[in-house]
Amino acid sequence: MAKDSRLILDPLTDNNPITIQVLGICSALAITAELEASIVMSISVLFVLGVGNVVVSLMRNIIPSKIRIIVQLIVVATLVIIVDLVLKAFAYELSKTLSVFVGLIITNCIIMGRFEAFALGNGPWKSFLDGIGNALGYGVILIIVGFFRELLGSGTLLGFPVLGDPIEKTGLYAIGYENNGFMLLSPMALIVVGIIIWIQRTKNKALIED
């Protein structure tokens, strides 16, 4: 049981998919300009990775090794399309918010990475935990980056102005504070991720390679 909990907890800290394995960087910089988008993306990946890991794990003994990557890709794509169609039919509003993320989920390397590295060699329950753990680890970083980019870039959180009104010059803006539009551009996501990696490795020297 102790080992099961590590499957969830490790990816949150010392084996984080983004800061340690450096996977899923592309989506981390594409959608973190807003906190809300980060949260939606995290939940979507949580679902796809959790279910996908179980499906691949159940199929692990019958998947021919020569075409395993293609099979994994089909599993992800099928899952994502099923979710997309069901949402479009029964929760149309929600599906419009999510449509942007569909393509990004299919190409997310964390998902392929976990299928390949874990689900192909472990049972369904362990794979499920591993999927949830990695998705949470991914989500935590996404939400941290989204929080700082939206706060410093637009002065809002989840769309609510928290620092005052930049045009009417109220709140912080009254004393000369300006939004940093630079934070909204993708390169700043990498810099924020870089800072997180730096802090993490300063606190835990064992993570430093060489």
């Binding site: 594409a30 959608i31 300009a33 807003e34 809300e36 988008a37 003994n61 019958i62 998947i63 021919p64 090794s65 020569k66 075409i67 293609i70 099979v71 089909i74 099928t78 399309i81 099923i82 169609l85 069901v86 479009k88 039919a89 029964f90 149309y92 449509s99 942007v100 393509g103 980019r149 939206e150 870039g153 637009s154 769309g159 045009i167 539009g181 909204l184 551009l185």
Partner: protein, 263 residues
């Protein structure tokens, strides 16, 4: 397991089997959900048109449509006429039809006209159908025109409500896949509301459109006759797309608005 998963024959059989299974699942699900999805999309168009003419449930800061359950009724109540203007490739008006005339000919509601398809028709030199929805709310007449163009990643579109003088009375924009936090903000209230009251024509009555302008000297948008609204930082290409679709598509309606004045 007894099966040798490395054998070529097994690999081929597995691949074929998987394609069939996945194909059946997806095709089945698709045909099952299609009628519901089509209906959702039709209702969304009605909600968009109603939104542009001010029939919505906006609260202080966010854009809220009328609920999907009441949208068809509200659409019937507020939209008095759906005109279809057919223009040739040079933008010259060929004919103007009422809803009944259009439906007798094409067997579908004018609001379901596929703007994207009409636009590519025009590019290949064919005639283009331009729907225009005439709505009435609180004694005022609104002319709602659809627009369609491309942003940074994918399609963007919208509905613009105008009065007789082509002054904007409401705007709704949407997009397929613009960047969240940047281009995707064209569907935020602060951007859409900026269009209210903007003139599409110059003072001399020439069509100028509305430019989504960076470095705008008027960020609070108090000058409504400058044909400019303030751009979104970090969304230059999406903003340019909005400018372009307003200029290209609404220009085609100008002859119709000219006839309104002479009558």
């Amino acid at each position: 397991m007894a099966v040798n998963t490395d054998k070529n024959s097994y690999t081929v059989i597995f691949a074929v089997g998987m394609v069939i299974v996945v194909g059946v699942i997806l095709a089945g699900l698709f045909s099952y959900t299609k009628p519901m999805i089509t209906q959702n999309e039709e209702i969304e168009k009605q909600q968009n048109i109603l939104y542009a003419m001010g029939v919505n449930e906006n609260d202080e800061s966010s854009a809220v449509f009328v609920s999907p359950d009441v949208a068809p009724d509200e659409f019937e109540k507020f939209v008095k006429e759906q005109i279809v203007i057919t223009v040739d490739a040079s933008g010259k008006v060929v004919k103007t039809q009422t809803r009944e005339e259009f439906m007798a000919e094409n067997n579908k509601e004018p609001y379901l006209i596929d703007i994207k398809k009409q636009k590519s028709n025009a590019k290949s030199g064919e005639n283009r159908q331009l729907p225009l929805f005439v709505g009435e709310r609180e004694g005022k007449t609104y002319y709602v025109a659809p627009i369609y163009g491309k942003g940074l990643w994918d399609a963007i579109w919208g509905y613009i409500a105008l009065d007789e003088n082509m002054v904007v009375q409401g705007a709704y924009f949407d997009h397929k896949g613009e960047t969240p936090g940047l281009g995707a903000n064209i569907k935020q209230r602060y951007f859409m509301d900026d269009f209210y009251g903007e003139h599409l024509l110059s003072e001399a009555g020439v069509f100028k459109g509305i430019t989504v302008a960076k470095g705008n000297a008027d960020p609070k948008n108090e000058d409504k006759t400058d044909n400019e609204v303030d751009a979104i930082a970090g969304a230059t290409i999406t903003g340019d797309g909005v400018t372009a679709m307003i200029k290209q598509d609404l220009k085609l309606y100008k002859p119709y608005f000219d006839t309104l004045k002479t009558n």
